[in-house]
Amino acid sequence: MKNSYNVDKNGFYGDFGGAFIPEMMHANIEELKSKYLKISSEISFKKEFDDLLEKYVGRPTPLYYAKRLSKKYNTKVYLKREDLCHTGAHKINNTIGQILLAKKLGKTRIIAETGAGQHGVATATVCALMGIKCIIYMGEVDISRQAPNVARMKMLGAEVKPAISGSKTLKDATNEAIRDWINNPVDTHYIIGSVVGPHPYPDMVARFQSVIGNEVKKQLKKVEGNENPNYVIACVGGGSNAAGIFYPYLDNEKVKIICVEAAGKGINSGESAATSVLGKEGIIHGSKTLLMQTQDGQITEPYSISAGLDYPGVGPMHANLYKSGRGKFISIEDKDAMEWGLILSRMEGIIPAIETSHAFAVLDKMKFKKTDVIVFNCSGRGDKDLDTYIEYFKL
C-alpha cells in the first residue's frame, strides 16, 4: 500500500502521535475516539457545520492572487485569506466543529487553553453563540501581554483563568486545562486549539481545518485550471493552519509542502521556537512528537516574537512530515517576520498576524520558477499584533 502521511487507525502519523495520557483522561479520550468520526460524518452535523461556516464565519474565504508580490518575485503568489474569517483567524473553523461535537456529546461546559488569545477568543465566540459556559486557561504572562484579547473573551462572557504554574505561558495553560478536565470529566469538553494533544485531537482538529485546503483546490482549479499548486506554505506553531491547508495534498507528492517555524532571535541564540531543528522525539501533552527539551527530558520554554508560534512542540502530523522528508521546514527569525509584516501591508494592503508574516518570509529564502503556483495560508490578521508592530517600528 502507498505510504500515507495521514493518521493511521491507531492514531499515529509514522512514529508520532498516539495517546500517552493518564488513566484519569482515558474515559473521555475513549469516548471522543469512538464517536468523533461517526458524529462528524452525519449529514445533519455536516449541514449545521457548513451552514455556520458560510453564514457565521464567512466562508469560503477568498483565494487572492497577489499581483504586486507575484511581479516582484517573478512567480505566481496566491493568498488563502483566512484572516478574513470571523474573529480574525482560521482558529474558528475548529471551534465551530468542536462545539457542535460537544453538544452532540451532551456536554454543558467548555474549557480551552490559549496562548496569544486567538483560540481563546474563537472558543469564547462559539460558546456565546451556543449559550454554553466557557472557561479559558491562559498563562499569567500571556494575560498581561495580550490585554485586548483577554478583554474580548470577557466581553463574550468567558471566564479567563490564569495559569500560574511553571513558566506561566501556553504549555502551562494547556496543563491547567488538562487538569480541569481530569477534575470535571463528566460535563466538560476540552476544545484543544491546535493539531496537538492525544489522539484523536490532532486528527479531529485537522479534519475541521481541512475546509481551508479543500476550498483552495476548488478555487485554484477555477483560476489556474489545475487544483494542484507547486507549493503550499504555512507557518507552524502547533500546526493547525498548516494542517488545514496541507490536508488534501498530504498524499499528493506533486505538491510540495513547506512548514515555516519561528527561529526567534536565531536558532542558536537560546531564544527560539524552531522545533524541527532544536527538538527531539518525546512526549508532550499526551502526544509523541518532536519537542524542545533538556537532555534530561524536561520541557523547555520556547521563544518567538509571535505568541502563536511560541509552543515547545509541534503536532505529530508535522513531526512525521519532517522526519519523512515529505515537508520542508524553514525557520524564520523575528526580524525577517516583522519586516514581512510591513512588506505585505505595503504591497498588498493586508496587515498580517506576526505568525502569518513568518510564512511570507520564505519568498526571500527560496528560489521559485516563473510558472510556479504558490499558495500561502494567510492565517490571521494583524490587529491583535498592533502593539508589537507599533513598538517594533516606532509607528
Binding site: 498516539g18 495517546a19 500517552f20 495520557i21 493518564p22 488513566e23 484519569m24 482515558h26 474515559a27 473521555n28 504554574s165 511553571g166 504549555k171 502551562d172 496543563n175 488538562i178 487538569r179 481530569i182 477534575n183 470535571n184 470529566p185 463528566v186 527531539k280 522525539e281 518525546g282 512526549i283 508532550i284 501533552h285 499526551g286 527539551q293 537532555q295 534530561d296 527530558g297 524536561q298 520541557i299 523547555t300
Partner: protein, 254 residues
Amino acid sequence: MNRINKVLNKKREILSIYFTAGFPDLSDTTSIIKSLDNCGVDMIEIGLPFSDPLADGPTIQESSTKALKNGMTTKKLFEQLKGLRKETNIPLIIMGYFNPIMQYGVESFCKDCELAGIDGLIIPDLPVEIYNNNYKTIFEKYNLLNMFLITPQTSDKRIRFIDEISSGFIYMVSSFSITGSVNSFKKEQTKYFERINKMNLSSPLIIGFGISNKQTYLDAIKNSNGAIIGSAFIKHLKKYGVGKVSDFINKIRN
C-alpha cells in the same frame, strides 16, 4: 520475592508516602527515605521531578519545579540512591512521567532502577496498552513491578484487564480529582470504593489522591489495603523541613 509484594502479603493498613526527589533541598532524598522508614511507613514513592506533571496538583508541581531548580536529574537521583539499600529494606517505588524516562532510555532506566534497589514504578502517562505491548518484558527483566491507576470512570471491563496484568498493587484514584484537592471523602467516593471491592480483584488496592489527614487515611484503609499520601506530606516538608518527618507520620497513624 519483590519487597512490594512482601509488604502487600503481610499486612493491610499500609501507609505509603510520596515525596519529590530533590525537595526541599537537592541532598534531602536519602534522609527523607531513612526518616520515613524509621517512623514505620510501609512503602515510599520517590517522585522523579518533571517540568509538566499534568496528573498532579499545584503542590507537587511546585515541589517539582523547585527540585529541578535545585539541580535534580535522573542521573543525580540514581547517584543519591547508591548504597541506600545497605541501610533500609523499605519498598521503594519511583513515580515519574514518561518523557524523562524515554530520554534516559527505558532499558537503561530500568537497569539503573534495579541497581539502585528500586522495586517498582508508577508512570501515570504510560497507558496500560502501550506498556503491555512495548515495555512489559523490559520491566520484568529488571524485576520492576509496574503499578496502574484506576479511577471512578474506569469501566469494569478495563479494571479486569488491569487486574490481570498487574503484579503489584492497583493504584485506586480516590476521585475525579488530581492530587491534593480534597479534604474529606464524599458519598459517591465511598460507593465507588464499595463497587471496586465487590469485584474481588486479585491485586491489592491502595488508595491515593486526596488523602491528607488521619480521617481520610482511616476512610481509605477501611476500603482498601492501604493509602498513599503525597501533597499533604510535601506541604509539611515545606513548612517544617526534613527534621520533623515523624510529627507528620505520628499524626496520621496515632
